[in-house]
Subunit: 221 residues, 2 copies
Amino acid sequence: MRAVIFDLDGTLVDTVYAHTLAWQRVLHEAGIPIQGWKIHRLIGISGGLLTKAAAHEIGRDLADAEAERLQKRHGEVYRDLLPERRPLPGAVELLRYLQKAGIRHGIATSGRREDVKQSLAALATPEDLVVVDRGDVERAKPEPDLFLACQDKLGVKPEECYVVGDAVWDLLAARRASMLGVGVLTGGYGEQELAQAGAYRVYRDAAELLSSIYQLGLRAA
Amino acid sequence: MRAVIFDLDGTLVDTVYAHTLAWQRVLHEAGIPIQGWKIHRLIGISGGLLTKAAAHEIGRDLADAEAERLQKRHGEVYRDLLPERRPLPGAVELLRYLQKAGIRHGIATSGRREDVKQSLAALATPEDLVVVDRGDVERAKPEPDLFLACQDKLGVKPEECYVVGDAVWDLLAARRASMLGVGVLTGGYGEQELAQAGAYRVYRDAAELLSSIYQLGLRAA
């Protein structure tokens, strides 16, 4: 294996619970009363799909313009709920280790540029880190496009890539991209849910992944 | 089986994600940087124990006075994040069904009276519903005291009681009280986590429990 592609929210930065509560508030405002645990399980897919999935739950169709409006509103509420970003344990150290070891790696996220920038700043990532976000592809997760775009930039084959993520959407998209998924518990899913979705291994967090990295058989470029 | 004892937060009302984010904010303010997913897994135990468990994670001891102060602060932040309470699907209907069917039931929660009152209002529970809260016992969950106090008021034996809850703490306390635990997914735990903690069955939510209630073999008093 030659490369590692990381999800961002819930995998490297601790943002899932603020995203969940922000969506819950925005969807309730819009007359879409969805429970917290269901929203939690939708975090990680594209915002447009999330709004449509939530509306579908209560038998409603959502126009594209309304879905777009809700995403803007979510961005506002989310920034209000969580003004600062916090790296998850081991996230900074894991990225630094891969860089030092010469192992190709990048970030592929359903998040939007403005929001992604803040998280990268919290992680103190180098300028030249390969990052693919919502704006770079037509369709975000659970489509494989983000991971394939990242792999392409890294110059490796899909079969040589690990995808590290906290959500079943990462694991689904990884399978569709012919990559090997690795789960982390920092997004709040249970271990079994991630294993069942196809995670080759599940680690507690990036710190445990770093201490166990020889289990992944990674080679430098 | 003669009686059903319900947990409140995450089981009958949709409050877990607001509790999680509120605790995360309060603990960070206090210099205890705990990740969201870990706090999520602590929701349901007494507030005092939660603050001490979080501090322990980073190798700190917390004085009782500080733990008490953090709980007060949590109450403020929580009310600010979630001013309104929402019943979870089927919660109101399930309580109403048990009442009509003459099956004894009550609520046993680690929450404090002031907060519990708001949730009961949202559930439109009758005045004479048996409710045991934090103030009624010396030690809240995962100690069995809340469930035992509730069972005592219901006038049944522990072995005749189901405990319905969303967290592993409910299931642990149920086992310690010699009661049979039933899990619901509305608190955001994975099904396997609840089954592993001893849930005899896991239902999606109160609505599914209500539609499957004959599986529990309950008898009227």
